[in-house]
């Protein structure tokens, strides 16, 4: 019943909505970024962050810092906040919050499987995993030899199990397979999340379908660009696109047959919201596309805070914080490698 959330939303969701809005106001500000971009060393960054909400997480780190430590601690803060919200949440918000982590779970599965394929140490791989996407038997992924085993041994216990129905094959794992698996899983995940949000109804459904549609479209473009010049057939490519979003279904037909970046641009420019993104890029360029998409995403995420009584704020907050951590990582990397002129290349401001 759209428009009537105000009557009942606060019974279960009010406290957490207040919490998440409070968290959101702790995001770094323009002045913070300004100061961070002027830092000379990682210690400067630490000192600056100690005045922000990250302070308590970084204060006990001994002095020669590494970028990974900064990122790790900042992520830890996000995880702590997420866990706090999850423990407080009731249905259906708790399920909604869990859905947010499935994306990280897919990434972690792919990371471990790829890593084992290239014979990396499992412990080392585990450290690289995103803590939000951890599940109990994640380390056992290394045992599996093919998709079927992967599913039967490990993933059957995880929430990802239903997404696997599309990609159970007995083929041995290789890089191409894994990449297809990632995208198939992601497709199934996004569609499932989309259905779940539709079921919730109200402002949540409205805002989330917009945000998820953007995500699906972005993935479709990325899949297209990354698969240009590979042996992936058009039909297979078409199968990896999610079955919703602004591009569905006609845009997908066009993307499926694209052979270079300019054809992608031609297909995308028919859609007004994406036209503005592509108009920023010069012809034949795809490096800056990621940043342009991130900027658009951040804009949309921020807008979701303009409405009240819906769950999209939780999704938006998690995404914004992740973007902030990506920014911090980039800034720290630039500072650590003395490439300060490139600081602004990849930082997406969140205001």
């Amino acid at each position: 019943m759209y428009g009537f959330e105000a009557m009942t939303f606060n019974i279960h969701g009010g406290y957490l909505e207040a919490i998440v809005r409070g968290y959101r106001s702790g995001l770094l500000t323009a002045a913070d970024y300004n100061n961070l971009c002027q830092c000379e060393t990682l210690d400067d960054i630490k000192m600056h962050l100690s005045a922000t909400e990250y302070g308590t997480y970084l204060q006990n780190e001994p002095s020669p810092l590494h970028t990974t430590t900064i990122v790790e601690k900042c992520t830890l803060k996000l995880v702590d906040e997420y866990k706090h919200m999850l423990t407080q949440a009731t249905e259906p918000l708790s399920t909604f919050l869990e859905y947010i982590t499935y994306g990280h779970m897919i990434d972690n599965v792919v990371l471990i499987v790829t890593g084992t394929l290239h014979e990396r140490d499992v412990q080392e791989l585990l450290e690289k995993c995103h803590p939000l996407g951890m599940f109990d038997s994640i380390a056992t992924l290394a045992v599996a030899q093919n998709m079927r085993e992967l599913y039967r041994l490990v993933l059957v216990d995880t929430p990802l199990a239903p997404y696997f129905s599309e990609c159970i094959t007995s083929e041995d794992l290789d890089d191409m397979n894994i990449e297809i698996m990632r995208n198939t899983l992601y497709k199934a995940y996004l569609e499932d999340f989309y259905r779940f949000c539709q079921k919730l109804g109200g402002a949540t459904a409205e805002l989330m379908s917009d945000l998820l549609a953007f995500e699906a479209d972005r993935r479709a473009v990325n899949i297209t660009i990354n698969s240009i010049g590979t042996e992936l057939t058009r039909e297979d490519r078409r199968k990896l696109y999610s079955n919703f979003g602004l591009l569905y279904p006609y845009g997908h037909e066009e993307l499926a047959i694209c052979e270079d970046i300019d054809q992608v641009r031609g297909a995308m420019e028919k859609y007004p919201p994406y036209q503005s993104i592509f108009s920023k890029l010069s012809y034949g360029e795809s490096q800056m596309l990621d940043k342009a998409f991130y900027e658009e995403e951040v804009k949309r995420l921020c807008l979701s805070f303009e409405q009240q009584f819906h769950y999209a704020v939780f999704f938006a907050y998690m995404r914004l914080r992740e973007q902030e951590i990506r920014n911090l990582m980039w800034i720290s990397e630039c500072v650590a490698q003395n490439q300060k002129s490139r600081v602004h290349d990849s930082v997406v401001f969140i205001f």
């Binding site: 002027q38 000192m47 002095s63 499992v122």
Partner: protein
């Protein structure tokens, strides 16, 4: 003006007179000067590090600076008006202090983990230099980290051996069928004495027969190890899935929990043994063990070998144990020596950091020889500050003295009330609403009496009052002891407000006497009277600017006093209400004076706008004169009005009149609603007395009606419980909150703007209990 100067000082009523002072400190004595000022704690530094210099320096100085500037060309630095924190002068020192306090936190954490206590009194022997302390801390940290590293390594080795021992012991049970247990022991004997005992022989033969059968003939192999108990179930499931059920999983709980060196917690483990067949399965099982963090240990199938290894392991275990213990003792000794000094070091580092933070608020002058700072201080502290600065110059044997001179200020000074133990809590109550503007009248003075009084009007019962009084007296009697220790947040609140509690209880006793209430039992000490609940609406008349209010509610108070004096039966509510509803009708017996309404209503409506209008006109006239006479002063204080003085000089009557109308309607409504708000006094006092009556009559008297001892006891218990928790705690809280509201909303909004800011001097004393 002379007359005003000769008045006694109003410490409580008005803020201390403040002044803005400028300090020009030579670099060599800056640190010492700031630390002396911190000990004194009477100067609040302003952050001038990003101000352009010209505006702060006195004239002679700026002429000199201009001259220097031509030579030095330091424009860029001067005009850099937005410095980020890490571009400040003493940022490196601040970083060093932060690093040191990190080390200190690490020590504290370690000491806490080792279960040692900090020495509460800082050992105050020799003062060490910060540089020495830094080196010392680094050494200590290095030493401690190395010890931790070593002991962790040892602990790990020890854990492995311990686990191995357990695996060996349990493996015996897994490998042998039950019947062979006795045989096991006997083979041991038999081995030593070499007797030809048939039974023993056959047993060992059986064993030898059985084990090759296990491993070689049918290709069954096993992996044994230790895994954390919480993971065991998943581990077993995973093994089952991978081998498609072709395995046998044996497990037994381990005897002793093992200390996890990373988290220093005890972990319960189980010993497992997996039997399987095939090389492929072995690889997978090993991988799973690795993934689950299970430690595998090779167990020889031969029981003799096993026993040998067990013996080996046991001897190494005892060796390791002694080493571990020695290491631990060594570490504890090191930690103890740190713990002895830690509090002192922490204080010192905290002070140093505060000093450097303060120094960062100062600015270098162009010659880079002096630091320039500004700060607020009370005028009475001037000599003390100068004294401290002189000492600093002397102690650091600087050639140049510190220049301290008073400046004119544009912005309003901070507000500083000197309080004592008694008035502090009341000041806090007022400050929570808003800090008084500089030189604004301080409502805390009234609050000392009015707050407890309003509370008591709602809580008037001298029985309950005595209970509160006892509580307050206990807190005050233990003031010294409670003040020195750390309290829980609730106790801290109670302790902070102990004098408020004291006065509240005294006033409650007083009001209780007037109301004739003692635990809701009427006590006729002053004879029966009826003023309870009647006079509550108009107790409150000390708001000076309420000319209007006096015409209405002052009249009401007058009526009340007349009523007390004449013993009239008139109902005051009726008088007041009918005065509005039907001013010209006969009020019957409720009539006190003829014509009261005729006088009161226009009295209420008319003088107010005229008085306001006159006030308004006066204000404008005053401002016009002000602009003529002291125009520069006005431009300082009210930049907006000073910018367009001519626009407002013309008196636009209609506009002002409309404004006045709106204002007066607002004021009338506000006054009526606020006064109605005081009805809560009446309501709450009634509620309190009714509630206590209910408990008294329905619980205590009812129970007393029975002749049963048990029922009486239960009744008494319920009554005592209800009195303590509902009447004493909850009602106190509610009366307190209502009194608070009456002060903040109804009282203070009449005259108190409260938009000042508090004087926060740079002081070491306020640092100590911070950042815990």
């Amino acid at each position: 003006m002379e007359y005003i100067d000769r008045l006694p000082s109003m410490d409580l009523m008005r803020s201390e007179k403040m002044m803005l002072a400028q300090l020009i400190i030579p670099v060599e004595s800056a640190h010492r000067a700031v630390s002396y000022l911190g000990q004194l704690g009477l100067l609040q530094f302003r952050d001038v590090s990003s101000d352009p210099l010209f505006y702060q320096l006195p004239l002679w100085f700026s002429v000199y600076t201009c001259y220097m500037l031509v030579k030095l060309v330091a424009w860029e630095r001067l005009l850099n008006d937005d410095k980020s924190p890490f571009q400040r002068t003493f940022v490196n020192q601040v970083k060093r202090c932060a690093e040191m306090s990190r080390k200190l936190r690490f020590f504290k954490d370690q000491i806490h983990k080792a279960g040692l206590g900090l020495s509460p009194h800082p050992a105050s022997e020799t003062d060490i230099e910060l540089e020495d302390l830094e080196v010392g801390l680094a050494e200590h940290e290095h030493e401690l980290l190395e010890m931790n590293h070593n002991s962790e390594k040892l602990q790990k080795a020890y854990n492995e051996l311990l686990e191995f021992k357990m695996v060996l012991q349990k493996a015996g049970d897994f490998l042998m069928p039950d019947g062979n247990h006795s045989a096991d022991h006997e083979t041991e004997l038999d081995e030593n004495v070499h007797t030809n005992n048939d039974y023993a022989d056959s047993a060992s033969l059986l064993e030898q027969e059985m084990q090759p059968g296990l491993s070689d003939q049918s290709g069954v192999k096993f992996v044994s190890g230790v895994i954390c108990k919480s993971k065991a179930l998943r581990f077993e499931r995973m093994l089952f899935r991978t081998t498609r059920g072709n395995m046998l999983f044996n497990q037994a709980p381990a005897d002793d929990p093992i200390v996890d060196p990373a988290s220093n917690e005890m972990v319960e483990n189980i010993v497992f043994m997996v039997f399987f067949s095939g090389e492929q399965a072995r690889k997978k099982i090993h991988k799973i063990c690795e993934a689950f963090g299970a430690n595998c240990y090779p167990v020889p199938e031969d029981s003799i070998k096993r026993r040998q290894i067990t013996r080996d392991v046991l001897s190494r275990l005892s060796e390791l144990e002694t080493t571990l213990e020695a290491g631990l003792r060594h570490r504890d000794a090191a930690l103890n020596s740190i713990a002895f000094q830690l509090t002192k070091w922490m204080n010192m580092v905290r002070r140093e950091k505060a000093i450097y933070d303060t120094l960062n608020m100062l600015n270098f002058d162009v010659t880079k020889k002096c630091l320039v700072g500004e700060g607020w201080c009370p005028i009475f502290a001037k000599t003390m500050i100068q004294d401290a600065l002189q000492r600093a110059t002397f102690d650091s044997s600087s050639q140049v003295g510190i220049i301290f001179h008073v400046m004119d200020s544009i912005e309003s000074p901070p507000t500083f009330f000197r309080t004592n133990h008694f008035t502090n809590a009341y000041q806090e109550i007022v400050d929570a609403y808003g800090v008084a503007k500089y030189q604004e009248a301080n409502p805390a003075v009234y609050t000392v009496i009015t707050f407890p009084f309003l509370f008591a009007v709602m809580f008037g019962d001298w029985g309950h009052g005595i209970c509160l009084l006892l509580g307050a007296l206990v807190l005050i009697a233990r003031e010294k002891r409670l003040g020195s220790q750390k309290l829980s947040s609730f106790m801290e609140m109670l302790f902070g407000g102990r004098y408020v509690l004291l006065l509240m209880s005294l006033f409650s006793i007083y009001c209780g006497f007037i109301y004739n209430e003692f635990f809701s039992v009427p006590f006729h000490i002053f004879g029966s009277s009826a003023y309870k609940c009647r006079d509550a609406t108009c107790r409150y008349q000390f708001v000076p600017q309420m000319i209007f209010l006096n015409s209405l509610f002052g009249y009401l108070s007058l009526l009340i006093i007349i009523k007390w004096c004449t013993g009239s039966q008139a109902d005051l509510y009726h008088v007041m209400i009918y005065m509005f509803l039907s001013p010209f009708e006969d009020l019957g017996e409720n009539k006190l004076f003829w014509g009261q309404a005729v006088i009161a209503v226009p009295w209420m409506l008319f003088p107010k706008p005229f008085i306001l209008k006159r006030l308004h006109t006066e204000r404008f006239q005053g401002r016009a004169y002000g602009i003529l006479g002291t125009s520069d002063m006005y431009s300082d204080e009210e930049p907006d009005s000073a910018r367009h003085p001519h626009g407002e000089e013309e008196f636009n009557f209609s506009e002002v009149f409309v404004h006045q109308m709106i204002h007066s309607i607002e004021f009338v409504l506000g006054a009526v609603s606020n006064t109605a708000s005081y009805l809560r006094l009446w309501a709450l006092s009634l509620a309190h007395s009714e509630l206590s009556t209910v408990f008294y009559e329905k619980v205590l008297l009812l129970a007393w009606g029975y002749n049963n001892f048990m029922i009486r006891l239960v009744g008494l218990a319920v009554f005592a419980f209800a009195t303590a928790f509902i009447l004493l705690m909850m009602e106190t809280l509610s009366a307190f909150l209502h009194a608070l509201r009456l002060h903040w909303v109804e009282f203070q909004n009449k005259f108190y703007s409260g938009d000042g800011y508090k004087f926060k001097p740079f002081s070491f004393a306020s640092l100590t209990d911070e950042d815990e």
